[in-house]
Symmetry: none
Subunit: 402 residues, 2 copies
């Protein structure tokens, strides 16, 4: 529902909503037993939630469209991902608390490996450790010089870094230099619109200097850039939904995304247990909690069915601690599917369960892709409607019209 | 479907459509047997209709949005309730045949009870009988005097009345004075837009005088106003769908709503039997019949599961009389859900059955919330599409394109 239609219906309520986002949760069946990761997992607590609640499958963007992490999350939070587009650069900046200013152009960088013919052989430079990446960022920061432009190179996590260009007349309308595949050369910096010709030349200088500086740093002997973007100005969750919201996410990018929506990004640890502890510690301060589980997606992207299944099983064990907080609404879903079999994000609908004290239970008794097809939310419903439904279940909406 | 797309497809047919609207039909399961009102009711005739027809659940406005009666009905009749918005005042005026003129501002009034601190203790003044309300309306009509303004106070039914203000420079952009809850004071008349400052002062005078006049009339010692509105000008059912339509509704507000869409509001009695008799009497004159059952909603709002179930069982017994008329299409649904457990309108999807001589039956053999989930209309389809589907089943639409 569009925010301006929702606004007059918002009302105060002393209720709490949890969105448990298991990144890339949806999967595909493996051969041996024809079960997906979610179907194969032993997850009695999620299954109880499903049988007490309402289930379905959501479409983050459009049927057949594979969402990136940004659009997938925005949709789940009720922000139409076609209207609210943001580049990875801005997400990266928010994730590491970089103070992005109006006019800055940000990009997400990867250290990568190229061979003697400039062909990319590893897009992630063997996932070099964060310490190594910090050192390489410092070297780039100290040695790259571009006239009239202030350059910031900051480590994000592992092989990932943030590049920010600051100066007059910059534009983010640039094509990625990341070819998105091994066996290809990095792409030349290229303007998507004519206002970005100058910026394309700046980026060319950055990449050219970086390549020279990194030439002896195998496996991290080159950089790839993507998601050139500028800071957006969007309505906050408070403005749209009247909720005081907190994000609990171990990974910087997801904290960054949450902050773009005005969520308070809470400090937390690396593990699921740390995240649930953080949830409990801040339970009284907020009324909407976004809890992000990264490893379902990571293991899916690794193509590791068994490990993705284990992450789901681990999450399941924390459900009793989550219910013990006495939330009014629990939504469990993902930002997209990441089938291990494909080792990549996919377009497949994402399983959802919505549990609340006032939901109308359907006949679904298992939280799985095929079980959810017959749920009352439907097998293909728009993810952007989920937030309105959660607010309704939390009794935070007045009726529409007389 | 937008009206301009439908218009070129309309064709004449000697077919008849019945929309049987059971107000607030959808519910939630009670604890004792995990059944909703509709699931618990003995309704063999509706179940036969369901098994011969197609079923599903509709969303009147948007997922998670709780519709008022107006938007819920408009949606079922194919009028997008976000585009076609009307206040309760206008509905009330139409319902009692008050000849609302351009520039008039109408509001729905309730007689209510306030204590010595002006706190509302009963928003409906104990549902005073209509005779008492008629007398109080007469007293207000005779004793309220506001310079330059003509005031009309007319009884609607029980504690409900219509207020119409007539004069130059009036605006309906006013906040309700009804606080929508007991334990609160009536709200001060307040302009929502600056063009209504003058009208807010007029309403203040009305409320102030009414309070003095009613001070010894316990339990009806105060008034609450809501739904300030002016007469809209909408396309009629005839213009949109080519049907000659009649409304059969015991309650004034629903006749009012029907008249806004150009339906002919037939005189009828208080009971379901009276309504079905009226249907039979006028069967030859019209080709679209809207039959409204109020008490499913009333008993739901009372929180009375057993009585709501009984109303459904009563309606069921009239289905054979309805089928004996040999209609071409029968649609049974509601304008929204009113679960007894919540004693209020809710956002939950509304069960629908569409029976016709040309429908494609699905596997649903019971008319109930969970049975309808697997129906061929889907578990979450937009109510505004229902009317087009009914016209198709009545063979009143040509094909689209060559």
């Amino acid at each position: 529902m569009e925010f301006h239609l929702l606004k007059p219906l918002l009302k105060e309520a002393n209720t709490k909503i949890i969105f448990l986002i298991m990144d890339g949760i949806g999967g595909l069946p493996r051969k041996q037993d024809n079960k997906t990761e979610l179907e194969a997992a032993f997850k009695p607590n999620l299954d109880v939630l499903a049988s007490e609640g309402t289930c379905g499958l959501q479409i983050p963007v459009k049927m057949g469209i594979t969402p990136g992490s940004g659009p997938g999350h925005l949709a789940v939070f009720g922000y139409d991902p076609i209207v609210y587009q943001v580049g990875r650069g801005v997400l990266a900046a928010h994730g590491i608390n970089f103070d992005l200013q109006q006019g800055d152009v940000a990009a997400r960088g990867n250290f990568c490996t190229i061979d003697s013919n400039d062909i990319v052989t590893d897009r992630r430079a063997g996932r070099i450790p964060t310490e190594k990446s910090i050192e390489l960022c410092r070297i780039l920061q100290e040695n790259i010089h571009i006239p009239h432009i202030e350059v910031f190179v900051r480590n994000e996590k592992e092989h990932r870094f943030l590049l920010v260009l600051r100066g007059d007349g910059l534009s983010s309308h640039l094509h990625d230099t990341d070819p998105q595949d091994i066996g290809k050369k990095p792409l030349e910096p290229r303007a998507l619109q004519s206002d970005a010709e100058y910026t394309a030349r700046i980026v060319y200088q950055f990449v050219d200097q970086a390549k020279k500086i990194l030439k002896d740093q195998l496996p991290a002997n080159m950089v790839l850039l993507r998601g050139f973007s500028v800071k957006p100005s969007w309505p906050t969750m408070k403005e749209c939904y009247g909720v005081k919201s907190a994000a609990i996410a171990a990974y910087p990018m997801y904290r960054g995304l949450a902050k773009l929506l005005g969520m308070h990004a809470l400090d937390t640890g690396e593990t699921i247990s740390d995240e649930i502890t953080t949830l409990k510690q801040h339970w009284k301060e907020f009324d909407f909690f976004y809890v992000h589980i990264k490893k379902t997606d990571s293991r899916g992207e690794d193509g590791n069915f068994e490990e993705k299944k284990k992450v789901i099983e681990e999450v399941d064990q924390f459900i009793p601690r989550l219910r013990a907080l006495n939330p009014d609404v629990i939504v469990v879903t993902g930002d997209h599917s990441t089938p291990s079999e494909m080792a990549a994000h996919s377009w497949h609908p994402v399983p959802v369960l919505l549990w609340s004290k006032h939901c109308r239970p359907d006949n679904v008794v298992q939280f799985g892709e095929r079980a959810c097809i017959t749920g009352s939310l439907g097998p293909q419903f728009p993810a952007v409607d989920l937030m309105t439904l959660a607010l309704a279940n939390a009794k935070r909406l007045d009726k529409f019209g007389a």
